[in-house]
Amino acid sequence: MNSKTKHIASITIPSHPMYLSMIRAFIEKLLLLIDTPPSVIEDIKSGVDEACSNVIKYAYNHDYTKSIKVSFNCSRSEITVTIEDEGAFSSCLDFKGRDLSEVRPGGLGIHFIKKAFDKIDFKRVDDTNRLILIRKIKKTTMKPKKKGRQKIRSNKGK
């Protein structure tokens, strides 16, 4: 894949918490395709998981019969995740997480989202909430690509 190649993929899940693990598995497989560093994959899994949890809790008010669409637009320099729902207006930009020096349950999710993404944007388009999350990938953190033919290594005997 050259630096201009884009990977576009999306997944739509029911708005039930049991499907959050599907989103995380999808993210892992997709980001591995573009050699994303493991720490970045974990951050993005966590940030998207928290954002989808917020959709279920606040936009859909725990109505598990709705749907959430998560789209990915990935290049080697940037990963853009768009999360769409048709619930009540709910922007995580308005969420104020708890002060991290406080010890109390709750209020951490937004911190995980902010930790994972460099830019967070929200749009309400017609009846759809659209959360746009952008993570920039530093080139130095990407695995170097070998030129030419690559040997296929066998794991046998390891």
Binding site: L20, S46, S53, V103, P105
Partner: protein
Amino acid sequence: MKITTEDIPKGKLIMISGEIDMHTSPALRDVLMKLTKKKVTPIIVDLLEVSYMDSSAIATFVEALKNMMSYKGSLRLCNLSQRVSEIFTFAKLNKIFEIYKTREDALKNC
């Protein structure tokens, strides 16, 4: 997620495997709330096989810890993976919880 509990000379050992998220954390909360209601101490939570933890998992542990503070109980976490450990550090909870490297360390004085 799978939760297994085991009696120890003093208190209870909880072993968790799998992912703790918005879907699975209520089951963990049920277990912890039942124990804290009975004022069990110490409660040792072995996280060796926990591959993922979200903010609802952290909230569940914080709630249990707060309950236990009321009866001066001890909530001990052990075998945290690097990622889970990073989450506790990020949430500034690494110094609030009693965190042990191994189950054996956590079980000392039980």
